[in-house]
Symmetry: C2
Subunit: 357 residues, 2 copies
């Protein structure tokens, strides 16, 4: 499998399906357009899936973990040991993503994309360790270009396996101490923004830590000179393994006509990589929420995505994506299950006469 092949498989949204979904929305027993974003979402999902009445039954959240050499710069409030500890927490069902995934009826797939230490293999863990953490991007490339490609193709492979098992929608999630730093660096590189405009406090770094983080990103951009026209170059120089993997998940889902519910700051950085590599991928992305992390709103604007929720989340893991998936499912059910004016015996003709009078 090659990246070029995957990219070539991503088609524009199906306009015929979208028109059919819009036409059906307009026959349902409600004033036209009165369900706002739920209606728009159902039409988008029709276009993504190529089905006039899309259904979401199987829901999968892919949460990818990786470590980051840049933690040596003191950019995070937490020690690196927390990455494998939280992966174990995911596998035993005690983390926020487990709770919210259960709430919305989604399955969580945990992937070790490059945790620095060994994670005890347990049921539910997919191991695609590209390396034991990235190199320190403040001093040189985070990974080789080959590792960048490998991380993306691993993401494609994982999402293809889930689609083969029946996934109707894919949520993205991340875990990795320090990973708001590469995410902010990616955004700065692609948007030509200063790190001060993008970098935030992540899991809760203090003022000094935030200064170190901004400084590390500045040095990373200077020393690496990532090429904003080359998503793979940006990923390799200032990214992370879980970020590359999530970009691959998005490209793979798009290639197979499946919607992707994009979580917060890290997932959005991955989306920026995916869209730089294959702009048509954007049509398949739904932004679950606007995170509290500083640059996230600008990043969503750059992608042209309007987030569903604004809950001040700043956890990652796919927690926002889980909530967003429930909204997408609701949108599909509205389109599929509501009665039409004809079926319900609500006189459409009267209504139209009056409405246009």
């Amino acid at each position: 499998m090659s990246l070029e092949k995957i990219i070539s498989q991503i088609k524009p949204r199906d306009q015929t399906a979208m028109q059919a979904a819009q036409a059906r929305q307009d026959t349902l027993t409600k004033p036209q357009g009165s369900l706002g974003r739920l209606e728009a979402l159902s039409i988008q999902l029709a276009g993504i899936t190529g089905r006039a009445i899309p259904t979401i039954n199987e829901k999968v959240i892919i949460t990818m973990a990786g470590d980051h050499g840049v933690v040596a710069e003191g950019v995070s409030a937490y020690p690196q040991e927390v990455t494998p500890q939280m992966v174990l927490n995911f596998l035993t069902g005690g983390a926020a993503i487990n709770v919210l995934a259960r709430h919305v009826g989604a399955r969580v797939v945990i992937v070790d994309m490059g945790v620095a230490s060994d994670v005890p293999v347990r049921e539910g863990l997919v191991v695609k360790k590209i390396a034991r953490g990235t190199a320190n991007l403040a001093k040189g490339p985070a990974m080789t270009r080959e590792q960048g490609t490998e991380s993306i193709l691993s993401g494609v492979e994982i999402v293809e396996a889930e689609i083969a098992r029946g996934a109707d929608i894919i949520g993205t999630g991340d875990m990795g101490i320090g990973n708001t730093t590469p995410s902010a660096a990616i955004a700065c590189a692609l948007m030509k923004q200063h790190p001060k405009e993008i970098a935030g406090r992540g899991t809760g770094v203090d003022d000094e830590g935030l200064k170190r983080k901004i400084d590390a990103i500045e040095r990373a951009l200077n020393v690496n000179q990532p090429n904003a026209n080359d998503g793979l170059d940006v990923l390799a120089k200032v990214g992370g393994f879980e970020i590359g993997g999530l970009a691959g998940v998005m490209l793979g889902a798009a290639a197979h006509g499946k919607p992707v519910m994009v979580d917060g700051f890290i997932s959005t950085a991955a989306a920026m990589i995916a869209v730089t590599i294959a702009p048509q991928c954007r049509d398949y992305l739904i932004a679950a929420h606007r995170s509290k992390e500083r640059g996230h709103g600008l990043m969503l604007d750059w992608l042209g995505l309007n987030p569903l929720l604004d809950f001040d989340l700043r956890l990652g893991e796919g927690t926002g994506a889980a909530l967003g998936i429930s909204m997408a499912e609701a949108a599909c059910k509205i389109l599929a299950e509501m009665a039409t004016f004809g079926e319900a015996g609500v006189s459409e003709k009267d209504i139209k006469d009056i409405a246009s009078s």
Copy 2:
């Protein structure tokens, strides 16, 4: 049962339970505060229910229907016959509220508070017909003060029955052709705003219809002179039976320590009546969403409620409340089901040492 008795039963939120919920949130395996509004919501629900770890199992949406004499002024895009037609649609499960309630696992209770025509009695319909529609509020009081009290007490009675059946949370919903007009009139009376700032297009009235609507509200305020310090007076003079009923639902739920998920424009007008009658009721209200209807944001500000969702909904029925209930349930599950640092073997001490360094 008297209104005074109900009001006297509404207690402030339980600070001890809120402190316990906050303390537990801070031991769960996530950076403190990183689940944003979900954390705040769980703490609010602890205070409402008086339980350190509140649970939401039984979810009930009470959707109240009524007709409005003011439709004679040409304020709606739809004819009055649509009110009973939609009530039937609710009872047969084909309306948006049925779909979304099923999605979130809520039961819908449909109440005829004052539909102008007869609604065929079917399973699931509660009949509390105060009268066959209100009088035209542009020409005089919509109802008598006694009918206002009766509509509120009917709402109390209905919500008490649902709480006796085990309801843990109550969503509010409405149906009534023309009912954005009394709702806007209530808001104008209580907020001393001009109808132009509050009245919107409702189900989709055109420019001429909107002018008629604003004019009708102006006349209603002039002819009736509602007393902004007397919620019952405002309700009786420019309100509606379903609006009074919903205010009663809110007062009754608050009196029994149950949270209320307030739907859109009409439910918010009802909340304004409830809070004018009993200010302490506000603590029990959660705003599900900011509707597309013009004055809704101002009304939520007046109430001091920050809506959960911003989905451009303008349907009513309880559709936004259904989505909001799912968020409240998610918030409770986070508090109840997440592992603590100790349980998960994630070293809290290391984290705190680093975080405070």
